[in-house]
Amino acid sequence: MTSQLNVDAIVDKAGSGGTNVKIGNTSTYVSDGGNVTQNTVQGLAKAWSNNNMQGTPAFNDSFNFSSITDTATGRQKNTFSNNMTNDDYAGGGIAPVASTGTAYSSSMMTEQQTTSFFSFMSVYVGGSVQTIHDFPNVGLIIQGDLA
């Protein structure tokens, strides 16, 4: 039998917040426009980070990443706290315009992705020259299947 719960807010049993609420991985939600339903857990970001690549690498903030490995200038590896099911997830990101040089565009490229880590390279392009660069705040989002 199909069940439906109409609520305006979800919080934990104690009523102090939502941090202890668990959602089953087959649950669906009604879309913003109210016309369709989609899987809730599939829509959740499984990891995200804002990396400071300069100096000693550090997360400005992050979710489900345990550590950073600085592999070279402009290249870092983020290790997951909880691993992904497979390496078929989507990783998207953005790098800011470099504060040095004449930068027309910046981008983050995927280097390697496995169930336990995601590594990337960030660059900026000025004219016809591409420079691999340590940015102070590279944003990264991972969507896919958590183990």
């Binding site: 719960l5 917040g17 939600y29 009604v30 599939q42 078929d88 981008s107 944003g139 896919g144």
Partner: protein, 133 residues
Amino acid sequence: MASVLKVNTLTGVTTAGSIAVTGEGNSTTTSLQQGLAKAWINFNGTGTIATRDSLNVASLTDHSEGRTGINFTNNMSNDDFSAPVGGQDTSTRTNVHTSFETQSTSMVEIMHFEGGGALDCNRVGVIVAGDLA
């Protein structure tokens, strides 16, 4: 004692497509629907383009070298959504850039450049955040 509530669909009372969840800091609420990715995909853009894994993607269209259309199963409400991307370079490491080109309620087009020209990319990740229809 932990409590378990089993339901198949979450629907807002006041507005069907708006459920509030308490933020991590316990001081504000945020929209559950607005915080969810509405589509994501990992695809191989070389040879016969193919989806590795995805959410809310019906098909891919090979528009031209380095240019791929991602067609949604459930459309977006408007064309104002955000689509961060990540492309894996081949071996050139010269002037590599992946971006989204055009977007509509039913699709988003991705383009990958290397060495000053469009090039099919082996591994592209795309995430769509915005308003689902």
